[in-house]
Symmetry: C2
Subunit: 342 residues, 2 copies
């Protein structure tokens, strides 16, 4: 049954600091009608990701900002409802960045078919989606870990971090996470198999904790957070260490550039290589990564933890909570019925 109207979330204000729910508006609008080869998708899962904070700023970046009054950008896993496109049939499970809304039109060009027999379909937003891809190429291409090396990942229980540590273990590396709180650290070490996890909220001296957890130093740092936590990791980088710059969530709500100790002097002699990347850079090679990670997921070698809230009206609050680190695993919003959910 297709509803006549549906809900979507638009951006109404650009917050200088931490976003508030009032920066967003949930509005009712008519369900659009697909034309020609277009596909109408009913959204089931909305992915909540740190990059979205960047889209709320009116600054030049690698992607244009969300306009005021426009639908917030975001990845959706959903079900095809109507299709004029030969590749997609009603009932197909698909994924695309279709925004924070319950129904959306796709022209099919970027729409990816999801195999619901492989894993819960929500994983197409997570370990078998953009965040898994980010972990896979960020770690393997930028971090270039070798067996026996030590890989540290910040926001270790988060969407990307949890995958990074497991991929490092699958490469024969020592995987050390950094996360906030005992519960997250337990998830990372007990359930996901990291060798160690540093609770940055409990440790008075993160530098000392890193030295204890990484007796041979740090060869690869996969950075999701920036700020003081990363400063401590940088002190422990080995010669010829690699840093994959994936995100700086600690800085996203900052109105002005925060000050920190200057880092680059010691990087010279240590020959540190540091590189920023965006998952899009690897879009052409997504299938290879999804095939490999899908195999590992099926074999139980790659686990995942998701934190799913119900209902599009909860999306702004869940997004704000994710920026605070309140989520426990990959943050998502269930926007509608999941026909594959047992």
């Amino acid at each position: 049954m297709i509803l006549k109207s549906h809900r979507r979330v638009v951006l109404v204000r650009r917050p200088p600091g931490e976003p508030a729910e009032s920066d967003f508006r949930v509005e009712d609008v008519p369900v659009p009608e697909p034309v020609g080869r277009e596909v109408l998708v009913r959204a089931i899962y909305l992915s909540l990701d740190p990059y979205m904070r960047g889209r709320m700023r009116d600054v030049k970046s690698y992607a244009p900002p969300v306009g005021l009054g426009e639908v917030m950008t975001g990845g959706i896993v959903g079900e095809v409802v109507k299709s004029g496109h030969p590749k997609f049939q009603p009932g197909d499970i698909v994924e695309e960045r279709l925004g924070w809304q319950e129904y959306a039109i796709s022209d099919g060009a970027e729409l990816r078919k999801v195999d619901p027999s492989l894993a819960p379909i929500s994983t197409a937003n997570g370990v078998l989606g953009m965040t898994g891809l980010t972990a896979y190429y960020g770690l393997y291409e930028i971090g270039q870990p070798k067996a026996g090396e030590t890989v540290v990942v910040s926001a270790a229980s988060g969407a990307v971090g949890q995958v990074v540590g497991q991929l490092a273990k699958l490469m024969g590396c020592r995987a050390v996470g950094i996360a906030g709180g005992k519960r997250k650290c337990d998830l990372v070490t007990r359930d996901l198999g990291f060798d160690a996890c540093i609770d940055y909220k409990a440790e008075a001296d993160i530098d000392a904790a890193l030295k204890a957890a990484c007796p041979k130093g740090v060869d690869v740092y996969f950075d999701n957070v920036g700020g003081a936590i990363s400063d401590a990791v940088f002190k422990n980088l080995n010669f010829f260490a690699r840093v994959a710059l994936c995100g700086s969530i600690s800085q996203y709500n900052a109105a002005a550039s925060e000050l920190g100790p200057r880092l680059l002097g010691p990087f010279v002699g240590r020959r540190v290589r540091m590189q920023g990347f965006i998952v899009w850079d690897y879009a052409a090679r997504a299938t290879a990564a999804f095939n490999q990670m899908g195999e590992w997921v099926r074999a139980g070698k790659l686990k995942y933890r998701e934190d799913i809230v119900e209902g599009i009206d909860k999306a702004p609050r869940a997004f704000i909570g994710m920026l605070r680190g309140e989520n426990f695993g990959k943050a998502q919003v269930r926007l509608g019925r999941d026909p594959y959910l047992k």
Copy 2:
């Protein structure tokens, strides 16, 4: 004629901040006698380089510190006086890191023969020595400039910087220097052929000056200075820019880590790659670089400017001056008679 005694400079104190002449001692000691295959070298030119400040600190680095009472480390161009080594004969001009002293013993393993017909022999400490090699591989291997791109280099009139800009021009790039004072900027643009030079001492707004000098943004930044000057360059980096971290002279005298704006967040989306390096990493490929640069020097395509003071007793003062940016070109000390000097 070999003297019975000679002078050398030893480190007597580790300064927390800017070095003073009293941190060094010039002492008279007997000229050593070579044994077996050893080579006795009479030093003619001593190279003064920023990295030496690092060796004055008692910290773990890529090279051990100079011990208190030990001879300061430094590259020497000199003349073989006595040799038990089949590869070296009296009169040969050679180069090695033999320290701040008028005579030194080498075992020959690291001793490099210099062709005095190619260029003034002092260049074996400069454009055709370690500093040229630093520029060559740092720019070409780490910076990877492509024709038409914009290359910015800080400390542009310095030993490494002056070579970097000229190598960038030889690659078909736009070369923009940053230097302190009109005289240095004039050297860089008029004599060395850079497209532009920003006088950071005269410019109130380095960011604006960079935008004017680099209308298409910055693709490669060869960083010799760190600190606030580099912060301004980082703001102007293009997508997929490369940063070659060669040095951070602005920070070398700092007793504690200076604070600066956090940089790494914007590097993610811009996919900036930043890499530290040490010229030793390219030692095995030195000959190729010297052959190429020697050809350019002979053809007048690669120019150089040296700032030479006379006498080993002047070395501490000249070194302190170099850290302040008082030198005008590659800093050296003439320790003894140069038989090839016209």
